[in-house]
Every structure is written in structure tokens, then in C-alpha cells.
Symmetry: C2
Subunit: 258 residues, 2 copies
């Protein structure tokens, strides 16, 4: 029997709301067994870019990362937010250890092809070092991972945090029974976006296609669900999408099914 | 016989000069045996603070760290510079792993008393977790450490990088034969500040007192030498102060003696 591992992705919006964040961290700290946290941090990076007069460019919900924006992303994700989460988790007696994909060459990535769309310094993960992650987990550390990767040749790359969580969950499925848990500020995937009680309890890829066709799922959710199904197809045991307050509870959540 | 460990502190000024930095990283990557890097990053943090209209306050060469400044320090030291160093070292086949004192509760610190001088969110290290550092070193990782610590209660603290290098060198002396090496943009401690060839080859605390009295050693060097003598008094085998280009060479350096 494989040991259980919970890979939690914390949505960027939750980083801006102290109440939501503290609620989440308390739940996360109490989560039993091996666990790790992958975080984003969209709005805070956007705000810092604005203060530094770095124009924000988005295509299909993804940030275009020029050199200045990469600096902002590295500062905010790998510095400010990563270390804030680590310090707050230690205050909750959770032995957090923060790093990014470049550290120990943990996530090697490839700069995305500039054709058809040039996203700049954006990386797609090509390889995850499970041994390093496993060694940290077995040392009773709780990895807190920011979605900055590198190409191995000295170039840092901005990487989608949902994708990072997904590739970690996939790779670690060889060694652990993995639950990939997307925690954010909604109760799950909703059939009626205006109604938090309309959580779709189980979702298959076929149902997702229909919801997309009906326009019921909007842009930000699509890459998250794609990342979730990718992990499920690559060995993750359970993939859920749920509210930050619902960890360790019986609240309804969206569970992906093959 | 204890294994050797080189604890290298890279001076902040060298982070601004791409030529100096690349020269240093090449030398550091080639350094044989176990090693780790502690870095500062003064000017870049100062520049970011300026761009964000956060006023810079310094007392006796030490930054006063209000809440906004702590954010800047965390972004620049633990994010931008730490990850830049890690990515560049990987390009030189050095298995760098970047983190800060808060990660894994590696350096616990105490917020400095606000009397007689209120330095704000500045921490003095109280404890170093040698086991964690040792586990990373024995996994063939090269720790790259930014001088951000925490108080264990959720508060990050800005900490002097020379002090961080010194306490790490002291603590690790129990397990390793430690060489603490301060690398910066001067050839060493100079008897004539205008003459790079006037390196004082050996320096005792008594000689340091005389040089201070004669006004031959200026403010920035004093805390560095204090940190060096502190490590030497606490078990470090060798403490040197030298130019970034002099690692692995026979160039003259300043060596501290008890």
C-alpha cells in the first residue's frame, strides 16, 4: 500500500484576503499525513507591476511574461508570498519549507515556443525530481512551492501554478497515493455561477466539454480543470476542486472522474 | 577528522555587477567539497524601495525595516536574488537550492529590542538547525541562503547577512571543519583604502581595535569583522575576507586570527 500524499494548490485570489488565507492555513496545517502546498499569487503581482509601471499583458487568462514581469513574478511568488506562507504555517506548528521549481533543479521546464503566441519567459514543465521532494517529505518537512521554474541554462521561467500542482501530483503518483486538491474561493465547479450551492459533485471530461459548449464554465476554470484531468489521467487517485474552508470537512466539493 | 565545509558570504555590491557576479559564481561552482552560499543584496533592495516610494532609513550602516521595507527585502533577497543565483549556479552545474532562515524553521530569530534604537522588523538569530542543513548538504545540494528569518510566530525578520553567515559557520563547526569566507569587491581589509595591494594578511581583534581607533576601518567593514571574529571564537577553523575573484587562488587575502 502506498502512503498518502495530499498536493494542495491554493488559488491566487485567496492570498489577497487575510480572513480566507488564515482559514485555509489553519485547515491545511491540520491536514493529516504527508502534504505539500503549491501557491499562485496573481493579484499581488499585478498590483506590484502596476506600481512599478510595468504594463500587464494577458492572453487567454495567462500573463505574458517579459523580463520586467518575470522579475515581479519572482519577487512576489518566490519571495513575498512564499515566505509569508512559510512564516504563517510555522506559527501553526506546520514545518513549512518554501522553494521554487528552480531549487535543486526540482522542476526543469522548457520555455514555451513563441509561435503561435509569444508568452515571453513562460515555462512548461518537462521533468519533476521526485527523489528530492520525497526526501523533504520523509524529513517531515511540508514543501511550499512557488511556480517559478528554470530552463537549466540560467533562465528563470514563470509557470502556471495549476500546471505545477498537476505535474507534481502526476510524478508523485508513482510513489504515493495522491490526492490533488484545488482550493479556491468558490465552493467548486458550479452549474449556476450565481449559486454557491450548485456544486457539480462529479465531473467527467465529457461533461466538461458540454459545459464549455454551453458557456457555463468560464476562462479561468478551464486550465484548472485541464490540469486536474491531466493529473487524474497520469495516476493521481483523487482530484477535487473545493473551497478553502472545506478541507477536512464533509462539505460538497467537485470531484473529477475519468 | 571532520569533513570540510566552506561557508561563503557574497557581498551585496557584487550582486549589482554582472561581471563580478559571474566571475564569483564560476569560482564558487568550482570550489571543491561541501559548501553553501549566504547572500545579501543591499543596492537592489534600496533601488526597489525608491521606485515604490518607500523611504530608506539607515542607522550605523543598518537598514531600518518597517513593514513596507520588510516586504521589499523579502521580495528582493528571498525572491529575485535568491532565485537568480540558483538559476545561474545550475547553469554552472552546481546543484543550488535556495531558501531563507524561515524555511524549515532553519534560523529562529528574535526581533531586536526597540531600545536604544528601533530597527523595526530586524531579527537577531537565536538558533540554527544544523540537522536540516546537514541533511541538505549530504544530499549533494548546495544551499543558497537569503538573510530573512522569522520569530516562529508568523513574523518574518530582516537579518544581517554577515551575521547569518557567522551563526551558520559557528553552529556547523560542531559537525564540520568550517572555513567562513567573506567574498566582496575589495581585495581584503586594507591598511590604505586607496591601495588594493595593501591587504592586511593577518588580523587579530587587538589589531582591529587599533585600526578602528586610527579611523582606518570604516563603518561597513566593522560588522563584517565582528561577525568573522565571532565565528572564529565559536569554532570556525578559518575566517578570510577576500575578493570574489580570489576563491581557489593564491591571491593575498585577509585572514582573521585569535
Amino acid at each position: 500500500m502506498k502512503e498518502k500524499l495530499t498536493v494542495v494548490k491554493l488559488g491566487g485570489n485567496c492570498m489577497d484576503d487575510q480572513h480566507l488565507l488564515q482559514m485555509f492555513l489553519q485547515k491545511f496545517a491540520e491536514l493529516p499525513g504527508r502534504k505539500l502546498l503549491v501557491h499562485g499569487g496573481g493579484k499581488i503581482a499585478t498590483e506590484l507591476g502596476h506600481r512599478l509601471n510595468i504594463p500587464l499583458q494577458m492572453i487567454d487568462g495567462r500573463r505574458v511574461t517579459d523580463s520586467d514581469t518575470l522579475g515581479v513574478v519572482t519577487m512576489v511568488y518566490a519571495g513575498l508570498l512564499n515566505k509569508k506562507l512559510v512564516a504563517l504555517l510555522h506559527a501553526l506548528h506546520c514545518n513549512a519549507f518554501g522553494f521554487c521549481g528552480a531549487d535543486g533543479n526540482f522542476i526543469r521546464a522548457v520555455k514555451r515556443n513563441s509561435i503561435p503566441v509569444d508568452y515571453g519567459f513562460v515555462g512548461d514543465p518537462s521533468d519533476v525530481d521526485c527523489d528530492l521532494l520525497n526526501a523533504l517529505l520523509q524529513s517531515a518537512l511540508v514543501p511550499v512551492i512557488s511556480p517559478v521554474t528554470h530552463d537549466g541554462n540560467g533562465q528563470l521561467l514563470n509557470t502556471n501554478a495549476d500546471t505545477v500542482a498537476s505535474v507534481i501530483a502526476s510524478a508523485m503518483s508513482e510513489h504515493y497515493e495522491v490526492h490533488l486538491l484545488f482550493a479556491f474561493d468558490k465552493t467548486g465547479v458550479l452549474s449556476d455561477p450565481a449559486n454557491d450551492a450548485s456544486v457539480i459533485r462529479t465531473l467527467t471530461e465529457a461533461q466538461l466539454s458540454r459545459l464549455k459548449e454551453d458557456g457555463k464554465i468560464h476562462s479561468g476554470m478551464i486550465p484548472k480543470l485541464k490540469a486536474g484531468f491531466s493529473a487524474l489521467n497520469s495516476g493521481a487517485s483523487v482530484v477535487t476542486i473545493q473551497h478553502v474552508s472545506s478541507l477536512n470537512t464533509n462539505q460538497p466539493v467537485t470531484k473529477l472522474h475519468l
